[in-house]
């Protein structure tokens, strides 16, 4: 169930959400740069068709847009994926699955949030069962706004992500790990006891969901 809190939306806890960009590189060496370069050349995508954005994701692989030339290709399971695309509004029921899928991905992993709904709820801003701000629950690396964004925008987003990876910037997954308590608390707030078990973060024992 959705529990309404005093502080809603992006007014509160802004600091927590702000990922300092570009300054914190993970490690700098020739090998690291080579690895980063190869990483950005190959992005396996777990496309989560949560909303209408799913329609826009499909053409990405077709002859017209051909995302494969950027090394972007679909992955069947979260275990193999590097990038999770949340394509549109996120219902509470879907959020649970998204969290689960995200936690099952292997690091380094990135999240692309597609469309306005993921940023502020979009046209579902007052719906009782959608999540307004995805980044309160899982870290988002790239937002692509629009309602809906075109595949070109998505490609743009991928290129931007590739650039960040290439530069060796810290991904959202670091943030998730460092602030796992906060994320889990938020998740618990909306999902109650429906929060998926955090098998992946087995070192995480805060609360009773571990």
């Amino acid at each position: 169930m959705y529990h309404k809190t005093q502080c809603e939306g992006f007014q509160c806890e802004q600091a927590m959400l702000e990922v300092p960009d570009g300054v914190e590189a993970v490690r700098e060496g020739v090998l690291d740069r080579l690895i980063a370069w190869m990483r950005q050349k190959s992005l396996f995508v777990l496309a989560y068709g949560t909303g209408c954005g799913a329609i826009e994701m499909r053409p990405l692989m077709t002859s017209r847009f051909d995302a494969e030339r950027f090394g972007v290709i679909g992955a069947a399971t979260p275990r193999q994926a590097d990038v999770l695309i949340i394509s549109g509004y996120l219902a509470l029921k879907t959020l649970r699955r998204v969290i689960r899928s995200y936690e099952q991905m292997q690091e380094p992993k990135y999240v692309i949030a597609l469309g306005s709904c993921t940023i502020n709820g979009g046209m579902y801003w007052d719906s009782y069962n959608t999540v307004k701000q995805v980044d309160r629950y899982i870290p988002v690396d790239i937002y692509i706004n629009g309602c809906m964004p075109r595949p070109e925008a998505l490609i743009e987003g991928f290129v931007a992500l590739q650039a960040r990876i290439k530069n060796g910037e810290k991904g959202g997954y670091h943030h998730y790990r460092e602030n796992i308590d906060w994320y889990k608390a938020n998740q618990r707030k909306v999902l109650g006891d429906q929060v998926p078990p955090a098998y992946t973060y087995d070192w995480y024992h805060a609360g009773d969901v571990a």
Binding site: S42, R69, A75, Q80, Q106, E107
Partner: protein, 304 residues
């Protein structure tokens, strides 16, 4: 020392050939679909990306050792297939093996990996394994029958001897025993996980598959062995039907030609369900095989 260097060279050659061929395959595929497609190195990048994932999940020791077994199986397979004819190099340990051994070695790795899949506890993975084994059951019958025709033709199971018997285009297995080649062609495509028969791996679309639980570096290992194993099979067929190769360029050329053939065949067909595939193997290629046996074994024996 020679053996070590030679082995490492064989592994390297098969790996490089593997990702280049598959890179080419992806490009060709894209072109057929009127796309640009990725670069020819794309498979290398993918592979390296997986190798350098910072996190890898395991489901216990068996899950970890499965990919190791399949990789070791791939290495062993590669080392037991002679890459070159009349050469000291790229021979590996092929003089200690034979054709039947190679065919069985091709299966050792996947079965080892099947243990890892089972150990993951993911039922979808196990379903994929069962599908793979089912397909194997279908394709192996005509495949082996075709190879048996070759063994019978040369009265040996030694790949070296079969290669040696094919000097000159006129003595190529393709020319002297074309029907055997026809028999093995479709099963060969299936064993390469080629298109009409690729529902097992189902790279992108189907959730259930042997690799459902593998990620990170383990998936990288699986990719690597897949490419190497494909090259081993290609080289094997080149050895058996195309007279082998005297140097590395000829080898690449012949293997590439064969690869092109299988690619072209597989590119234009939609996917079959496993049961359909098995049924198909037992009807068309096996029927062809029976015909071949009647033509090349029974008739000469009766007329003699």
């Amino acid at each position: 020392m020679h053996a070590v260097v030679d082995s490492l060279a064989m592994i390297a050659v098969s790996y490089v050939m593997g990702f280049l061929f598959y890179g080419f395959y992806r490009q060709l595929n894209a072109r057929v679909q009127r796309r640009w497609g990725p670069s020819i190195w794309q498979n290398f990048f993918d592979n390296m990306k997986f190798f350098f994932k910072s996190e890898t999940l395991t489901h216990g020791p068996m899950f970890f050792f499965g990919p190791m077994i399949i990789m070791a199986g791939a290495f062993t397979t590669v080392l037991f297939v002679p890459f070159l004819k009349d050469s000291d190099w790229l021979q590996g340990f092929s003089q200690y093996g034979n054709l039947i051994l190679i065919i069985y070695l091709l299966v050792v790795g996947p079965l080892g990996n099947a243990l890892a899949v089972g150990s993951s506890g993911n039922p979808f993975g196990v379903m994929g394994v069962t599908r793979g084994l089912t397909r194997l059951m279908g394709l192996e019958v005509p495949f082996f029958l075709g190879l048996a025709l070759v063994m019978l033709q040369h009265e040996t199971t030694s790949v070296h001897a079969i290669m040696a018997a094919q000097d000159g285009l006129a003595n190529w297995g393709l020319v002297t025993n074309p029907i055997a080649f026809c028999v093995i062609l479709l099963p060969f495509i299936a064993s390469q996980n080629g298109s009409p028969f690729d529902v097992v791996g189902a790279p992108v679309e189907v959730y259930a598959g042997p690799r459902v639980e593998f990620g990170g570096r383990l998936l990288g290992v699986l990719m690597t062995q897949n490419m190497m194993m494909s090259i081993a099979k290609l080289v094997l067929v080149v050895d058996l039907f195309m007279g082998g190769a005297t140097n590395i360029l000829v080898l690449i050329g012949k293997a590439f030609a064969l690869f092109l053939l299988t690619t072209v065949v597989s590119m234009v067909f939609p996917r079959l369900k496993t049961e359909q595939a098995v049924d198909f193997f037992w009807k068309v290629p096996l029927g062809l095989g029976v015909l071949a046996v009647i033509l090349t074994v029974w008739l000469p024996s009766w007329s003699a």
